[in-house]
Amino acid sequence: MVRAPNCIDLSVRVSGLFMQNPTMLASGILGMSADTLRMVAESGAGAVVTKSVGLKPSSGYPNPTVIQVECGFLNAVGLPNPGVHKFAEEIKALRNLGVPIIVSVFGFSPEEYAKVARIAVESGASAIELNLSCPHVSGTGAEIGQDPKMIKQVVGAVKRSVEKPVFAKLTPNTTNIAEIAEAAISAGADAITAINTVRAMAIDVETHRPILANRIGGLSGPAIKPIALRCVYEIYEAVNAPIIGCGGITCWRDAVEFMLAGASAVQIGSAIAIEGFSIFKSICTGLAEYLARKGFRSVGEIIGLAHKK
């Protein structure tokens, strides 16, 4: 029997977090103020992830920090943030948001990650996403996330300090992402987010200079979608935990691809620059129509289908 798209169940559960639909705002995008996070939630996102927050305030790098390149964006913003103590006010202002609020956290030691995560949860975070993957700040992010031992220490420390779900956001800038995912899950991570940006750069030929002030940054957008998809596929084979897909998702078809590869939910970032806030609703509409056309009743039924031999 073919169902009407409005009868399709798009809800998903990721490590106990109930989401009305599988779309989420990706970290680093618009997530620094309560007002914009609320705006995104009202636009139809199933959950929102904040910009990464650390223990101390930071200005990030000078501009240029974000530039458009062929098939995507290149950024090295440098984790600007007001520090978790001040950011706690923004989190508190999101009580009754109606969708889960996941606070992205970074630190320069396992203890620092744990402290920031604890303050975020005390302020009202529904879950924590560990930034183990920022490719352009030394001493944190990908420098921790490329080393399974360090990952275990960070995840372990955070899990001991908070009782909410903990997601590990991984970097594709590693030879074996499945191994990294296994390390995170074995240390207690509840889910994996894959992937962060791909280390990249752009050089201006007229002035012979790297364009980003930090010279090297991370590539996002459609250019990295096939890489992200492969990462999700490999992680699904390696671990028995929910995966949140991220990287270049711009339409319902991309979302379906990630879910077939094994993602339980998908994060949207760069595409907002092109499609605007309506992207969350348009992906959900397209997803429901696809599921109806293919004879599914709920979005959960397609997770990991591409692995069927």
Binding site: I29, S33, N63, P64, V66, P82
Partner: protein
């Protein structure tokens, strides 16, 4: 995408302000109030409004030396290279038949394209150009030439009275509003000026559009650095309509996010 362009010419507007001319096709398509991200290689990248466009493919930005990046930019020479991205953002929209255009200091720059458009559309236009002192007034000649048109009258205002009327741009704006000659205010300048004009617009029941400034990084609406309320200055603005100004009234002239994402006084 970033384009690197050669500076064609530089015009000294006053001891602190220069207009930089360059060739870039995209920039000539700029609507009044739109801005470009200007890359000063090795220094910074900053948002600056387009101050003129010409049919020959050239455009200009007008910049006041206030910080490291703007100082470096005003010290550049013809044939030096700068990068431009954009034009970005929402422009002024021509509404109504009688306009009051108020520019404070360097805020006059994006209003020049608007005034040309108002003249094209046969809108009766009163321009108030405010500056602290005579030597800080910009576009004096351009505005005097525009004032030759029957459609345009221009008032220069300085805080110390060294040129034109003495006082604040908002004082003159209030007199114009009291006379009932206008149905909309177009503004750009210090946020304290915009807040005052916004209050005047409410008091005199006229419409208003104002260009706001915040710390901009991406310019395409994804990084969240420039938010005011639920709006992104780079994408939803920089020009905001009256009803949007009302929505962000509690921040206007008072609170902004700095480059760290901390709430600080404007």
């Amino acid at each position: 995408m970033l384009r690197v362009v050669r500076i064609l010419d530089i015009k000294v507007e006053n001891p602190y302000v220069k207009t930089i001319f360059f060739n870039d096709e995209m920039c000539t398509l700029a609507e009044p109030g739109q801005f470009v991200m200007v890359w000063i290689p090795g220094i910074d990248e900053i948002p600056i409004s387009i101050s003129s466009v010409y049919p020959d493919g050239s455009s200009s930005i007008t910049v006041a030396a206030v910080g490291e990046a703007t100082k470096a930019l005003t010290e550049m020479k013809p044939s030096d290279l700068i990068g431009v991205r954009g034009p970005f953002g929402r422009s002024y929209r021509v509404i109504g038949k009688k306009a009051l255009v108020v520019g404070g200091g360097i805020g006059m720059a994006p209003l020049m394209l608007l005034i040309s458009k108002l003249i094209d559309r046969n809108v009766e236009t009163i321009v108030v150009n405010g500056a602290k002192t005579r030597d800080k007034i910009i576009f004096m000649e351009r505005l005097k030439n525009l004032a030759k048109s029957d459609m345009v009258s221009v008032y220069f205002v300085t805080e110390d009275g060294s040129y034109g009327l003495k006082g604040l741009a908002t004082d003159v704006a209030e007199e114009v509003l009291r006379s009932g000659k206008v149905d909309i205010i177009y503004a750009c300048g210090p946020e304290s000026m915009i807040k005052k004009l916004y209050n005047l617009a409410k008091a005199y029941l006229v419409d208003m559009q104002a260009s706001l400034e915040r710390y901009i990084r991406c310019a395409v609406g994804i990084c969240g650095s420039c938010v005011i309320g639920r709006y992104r200055v780079c994408r939803d603005g920089p020009v905001f309509m009256m009803e949007e100004l009302r929505e962000v009234e509690s921040c206007l002239g008072l609170i902004k996010y700095n480059e760290k994402g901390e709430r600080v006084p404007v």
